[in-house]
């Protein structure tokens, strides 16, 4: 991790903060699902925090991001306030989407989060469009889209990569390769390596072998962002990582599709612990400071839970708002 340690101390600590926010937010969300406070299910990013934060921290205010069903980490990585996110998961009126989106469909336009997607691959061309508008309007913003190794088999990804490349759009295609799509091992359904697919579409394709190292991810994504911002076109980045939990909270799969050795290898590479150690070793912070940061984050998460729990459920009329932009007659849609 030496390399990225030259980043400003603030930035380094902010990375750890965001990873901790994702971890503790998701830990709490998981518990709330089990207790019935969150309806439906959630997909946690636990274990994948470095990959999310390393990428998001390479963006700046004004940039855009789209994501997928593993959906909390992305907006948290963009620094979306936790309260409305947790309230959204709980289906409350104060949710970031007024309780109408839920876990799979978080979006916080204020931080550039254009929307997570329950449909794998479906939000990829949305980021392409954000790149297109940047180019036409002459704005120097970029767009990054997160998708999994499973979603990397959706054709729309290659249509989008091709168009971004032909038009030199400022888009970063970021594949979160956590080795599985639900119960399906990536190697059984993937021809070749995902990172190698960039070249055929005229863009760099880079694999971050150690996706548990937030600085390694950040370095590669920052390069892709710089390239995009400079008008040199899109990049494909594949980050190798692992989810520590089941595909979604509460899902039980009877077949043992991930073996114990593999699991323990990866859990020994907890991105948050690794970075904590690295920061301390590099003298960027003391253990005490790190503990304090973690305590702060725990407090923040606690508050977001309280906010969510204490918020009211949406009023009935909310179900009938926001379908169209112009006021429409309710009888037309009811």
């Amino acid at each position: 991790m030496e390399h990225g340690m030259s980043l400003p101390g603030d930035t380094l600590l902010e990375m750890q903060r965001r990873m901790l926010r994702i971890r503790h937010f998701d830990e709490r969300a998981s518990k709330m699902v089990k207790r019935g406070y969150i309806p439906g299910t959630v997909h946690t990013s636990i274990g994948q925090e470095a990959q999310v934060v390393g990428a998001c921290m390479a963006l700046r205010q004004g940039d855009h991001m789209t994501g997928n069903h593993r959906s909390h980490g992305h907006p948290i990585g963009m620094r979306s306030p936790l309260g409305p996110l947790m309230a959204e998961l709980a289906g409350k009126a104060t949710g970031v989407c007024k309780g109408k989106g839920g876990s799979l469909h978080l979006a916080d336009y204020k931080v550039g989060s254009l929307g997570e997607s329950g449909i794998t691959g479906s939000s990829i061309p949305i980021a392409l469009g954000a790149g297109l508008s940047a180019q036409v309007l002459g704005e120097t913003r970029v767009a990054l889209t997160f998708f999994g190794d499973g979603a990397a088999n959706q054709g729309v990804l290659y249509e989008s990569m091709n168009m971004a490349s032909a038009w030199k759009l400022p888009v970063i295609f970021l594949c979160e390769n956590n080795h599985y799509a639900l119960s399906t091992p990536a190697h059984t359904v993937t021809g070749g390596r995902i990172c190698d697919r960039g070249a055929g579409f005229g863009m760099p394709g880079t694999r971050v072998e150690d996706g548990q190292d937030v600085l390694a991810v950040h370095e590669v994504v920052a390069e892709a962002v710089a390239r995009a911002r400079a008008g040199e076109g899109p990049s494909l980045v594949e980050v190798m990582t692992y989810r520590f939990r089941e595909h979604s909270e509460g899902l039980r799969i009877n077949v043992d599709y991930r073996d114990a050795d593999e699991r323990s290898f990866w859990t020994s590479r907890d991105p948050i612990l690794l970075f904590r150690k690295a920061l301390i070793e590099a003298g960027k912070a003391t253990a005490e400071q790190m503990d304090m940061i973690e305590a702060e984050i725990l407090q923040e998460v606690e508050e977001c839970v309280t906010f969510a729990m204490e918020s009211p459920v949406p009023a009935r009329e909310v179900a009938f708002a926001d379908l169209y932009s112009d006021p429409y007659e309710l009888e037309d849609v009811l």
Binding site: P39, S103, L104, G150, N153, T184, V189, A319
Partner: protein, 342 residues
């Protein structure tokens, strides 16, 4: 006969069809690990193991997440000797493969002058009402009803699921099966062993004389409850479950309306251009002279599906909605009865 759940019946139909014909294969995302519950082993014959153990990985296979290619490959495989069952899991994912459904599955046989056979079944589940949000709650069967060349089934009970599923697998045409997840746990007595229920034959779930209640898929139990309730109030409902939407048993529906003179249609799809619209239009043509009241539809609102449990219930048809529609079309009836009683 054994008591069987709806989802168990689907598994059984698949298992029997695969055992009967080596050309039947099953593909889909995560089917090997039985994530969606229809490719596991049965309790009665635990020693056989799950589908992978019974039929091997050549015939049971996990696909990449590539719905368009999955559907296309199944079509091509059907055209060249296999009889694929495709598990598309959520109905909301069918859109990804729309071109293959409409331009290949539905059109090939016709366009090529009958040269192709397309024995392929596409299963998908409608997970509505379960707080999964707008991306996982679709009930898109009406879109496919309007595509000539496709057949569409929407069973609403365990026995119907098993018999129709097998008929669909045995059909030489592309069939789409839409299964309402709220029905998965429902139980019914089902014949042991293989049997089929012909496509295109409605099932009269309850006989009655005052109003015809046509209910589709997940709306069937609601309609039955409403009929029961209305019976207590002196209104006799005939409940018809079409079971297959293409071909649609319009004769049975029209016959019933000719008897009752009234029609209410309930279904979980959005109202506009839904199956209920089609059924209403058929009846407004073929049984107009017998109609004694407006035709009422009880459908999902023309609204997207909100996530919050506080809101989602507003969208779909309810027993109360069906009851209110029956009341509206039987207003004179209810008045009369009330007067008679009073």
């Amino acid at each position: 006969m054994s008591l069987m759940t709806f989802i168990g019946a689907i598994g059984a139909a698949q298992q029997e069809a695969m055992a009967a014909d080596p050309r039947v294969i099953l593909i889909g995302e995560d089917v090997e690990a039985n994530v969606y519950g229809t490719t596991g082993g049965s309790k009665q014959r635990a020693e056989q193991g799950d589908f992978v153990q019974q039929f091997g990985k050549l015939r049971i296979r996990n696909t990449p997440i590539s719905e368009e290619a999955i559907v296309g490959a199944a079509i091509g495989a059907a055209m060249t000797g296999l009889r694929p069952i495709v598990d598309l899991s959520y109905s909301s994912f069918l859109y990804m493969a729309m071109d293959q459904f409409v331009n290949q599955a539905a059109k090939n046989r016709y366009m090529f002058g009958g040269q192709s056979r397309l024995p392929v079944l596409f299963r998908s589940a409608m997970f509505y009402g379960l707080n999964t949000g707008a991306h996982h709650s679709d009930r898109p069967y009406p879109m496919f009803m309007g595509v000539p060349g496709l057949k569409v089934i929407a069973p609403a009970s365990a026995r119907d699921a098993k018999g129709l599923m097998r008929a669909a697998i045995d059909s030489d045409d592309p069939v789409l099966s839409f299964e309402a997840v709220p029905l998965w746990g429902q139980k019914e007595e089902v014949e042991d062993g293989e049997f089929t229920i012909p496509l295109g034959v409605a099932r009269t779930r309850r006989e009655g004389s005052d109003v015809t209640l046509v209910a589709v898929s997940g709306s069937v139990p609601l309609a039955m409850q409403a009929a029961e309730e209305m019976a207590g109030r002196g209104v006799s409902c005939e409940v018809i479950d079409p079971r297959t939407l293409v071909p649609l048993d319009t004769k049975a529906i029209v016959r019933s309306v000719l008897k009752t003179g009234r029609l209410v249609v309930a279904e979980p799809a959005h109202r506009t251009c839904g199956a209920a619209a089609e059924i209403a239009a058929v009846v407004a043509d073929e049984a107009m002279h017998a109609l004694r009241a407006p035709i009422k539809r009880v459908c999902a609102l023309n609204m997207q599906v909100p996530f919050s449990p506080a809101l989602e219930g507003e969208i779909y048809p309810t027993k109360e909605g069906i009851t209110a529609a029956i009341e509206a079309v039987c207003a004179d009836q209810l008045d009369t009865r009330n007067r008679r009683v009073g």
